[in-house]
Amino acid sequence: MLGFSNLSLSNFLFWATQKRWFIYAILIGFILFLLPQPTALSQKGFTSIVILITTLILIIKEPIPLPAIAIYILLAQIYGGIDSADGIAKAFMNDAVFFIMGSLMLAVVIIRQGWDSRIALGILKLTGNKTSNIVFGFLSISAVLSSFIGEHTVAAIMLPIGMTLIRFTSSDLSKVKNLASAILFSIAYGCLIGSVGTPSGGGRNVIMINYFQQLNISLSYFEWMIKVYPFVLIQIPIVAWIINHTFKPEYKILDSSVRKLVIKVAKSRNMTGRNTITVMIFFLIFIGWVFFSETFGLGTIALTGVFLYILGGFVRWNDLNKHTHWGVIILFGATISLGTSIRSTGAALWLADQVITVFGSLMEIFPAFSDLIVILTTTAMANILSSSATVAVLGPITMSLVPDMIHIGLVTAVSSAFGYFTAVAAPACTIVYSSGMLKPKDFLKIGWRIGFVSIFLLMVYVNTYWVIIN
């Protein structure tokens, strides 16, 4: 056909099949452009909404690599006339992107330090051998640690500990299916719950802080913790209870497997001076986050830590380079720049107005209704997109919804961690899923229960505790 060989035609068809969602996204974009532009919306605002919709399709379906999606976002904004190349580039790289970069690199350093053995011993000392206590122990330790060192890092550290305990209980997974689910979900959900506790718990928190700063709103590390950490502590026992009752473990006591695990970790290498220094550097990073993040930014401090680790020879650049997903970093930079454009072009305000037009009367009668809309939208998007990308694109819109931007911004950030329903919602869930011991339907089986309870708790929490402390 037209001089093309069968092989080249076949290759083209394969390409078209693989990239069909990219083709659909572009077609949808063109169709949207052909629709009449809303009068209350500027041309730039309209363009940024079209780019937002096509970007969401690309991020959800991943027909092209993430860095290519990032480039698409940048090019579409420039060619779409939203801003000049310099303007887009300025919004592209900021402290939130520094933080995501630093956080991914810190994960490599921390995971390599062999803290897992000591954490395992710590959990077992606290919980003893009762299964329900062990589930509670895994969940609470994961939650507390992920508040400070990032959910993905904690999930990677905790996963082998949990899997070893499961394997020591029975090598036949079918005999310990519920136990495996209970332990693995306690790790994943613990990481999710804890990740909102402090600004450094996850990239999405830093993205929100960044949006606050763009609007000259100040929220310190401590203020964030005072507002959000009690919610983490409330969730821990409730979620542990739900996990224990959804997946009733086959064994109530894990006596021999706990002993085997203790023996295994006792044989592992002792803490060295270098390990102590890595802990000390991390402690310095934490102090920096708490006391200096408003001055220097969370990302700058995270990168300072990375610099010290490289300088001290605690990690090799090759190792960092190999395990840091630069594509993710570039994509977050691009989505943040898109979020900024959505706000600066007035598109965020227009979208928020549409929500108010539909639900305005309900929001007037029940002020908490706006919280519910934001929580449900953010939760839904976080489960199909990614929590950080959700905050990056939704943040400017939700913050235009009500006058109290800190309130609604924090509600957005917290509910973006409700990625309980799918394995792709958050890195912690994907990491645990990669063990091969869980099925997608397991996430749904427990996800709806915890999701429902978390949404209810957050609604009550923000409309009682926040009212009191304000």
């Binding site: 056909m1 069968n6 092989l7 035609l9 076949s10 068809l13 394969f14 099949t17 693989q18 991943e62 690599p65 993430l66 991914l104 994960a107 490599v108 995971i111 897992d116 993905h152 999930a155 990677a156 550290i157 996963l159 082998p160 500990i161 899997m163 070893t164 394997r167 395990h323 840091t324 997903h325 594509g327 993710v328 990614s386 792709v424 890195p427 994907t430 990491i431 990669s434 063990s435 091969g436």
Partner: protein, 294 residues
Amino acid sequence: MKILIAVGSKRYSKPTLHLGMKVAQAFKAKTTIIDVGEKISEFSSQLVELAQDQMESWDFDPPGVDVLEWAFNYLSDNSLIDSKQIETGFPKNRLIDDGEDRKLVYLSGTVCEDVNLILRNGDIISELREEVQYGGYDVTIVGKSQKRNMSHDLLQYINSSILVVNQHNNEKFNRVLLPIDNSHGTMKAAKYGIRVAIAYNIGIDVLTVLSDNGTGNDKNLNTSKITKLIRRSGVSYTNLEEYGDPVEKIIEKANDDKIIVMGASSMSPIKRYFKGSKPLSVMNRCNVPILIVK
């Protein structure tokens, strides 16, 4: 010759593995067994890799290695490969990333020169296509999928011959059914059919399906060449001539006790994509193993 056998789970892959290895032996082929794991979201792929590195330090293999290990042991237990235990082998399962988005798996303490084990992650068709291109395989052997699109995509995009194995009665076939027509691929299909027949010590039914009106214009020009080829190879054969719809006749003649060996469609890929093809229709509807030769 190189053969690629795709396995997916311990539960469903036994027939694929068994028949695949027998065919590989028939062709004296170098065999690779591949497991394609689920696609990992790119957002978390690097973190998952980091977590799996961590799991390795606790002596856990990534998902998929257990399936490959089971496959290797199954072949060894059924004397389909000659595996040796070596004292100097790897003390534990070893995965080597060769930089091509694939991992070579070396099982602890075993060595087998006949079989390679490969682990990949991603969309099954993309990964098989990549692997076939990378390894230059002649035949890809897969189990029959319940998904209709899967057969279509296999035929459309995998650049090697395809043997699709059904889950039932795979070892019960007693003849090779060789549907032939005037296309160029028929001769190659006949050569493959003969080798299968020799390996299993069975005969071949050479099937020509003519159109209902029987005008004589569709007389098969390949029949005499093929029968000559079969005769020379010492395999017993019968010539069957039928009138009607080729797909219906092939399925009817295959019954439940033949292995079908037929050439791939010679239509252009674009036509095939929209209209389908006879091999695809037969593959979707038949209950016996089918080797489509490209």
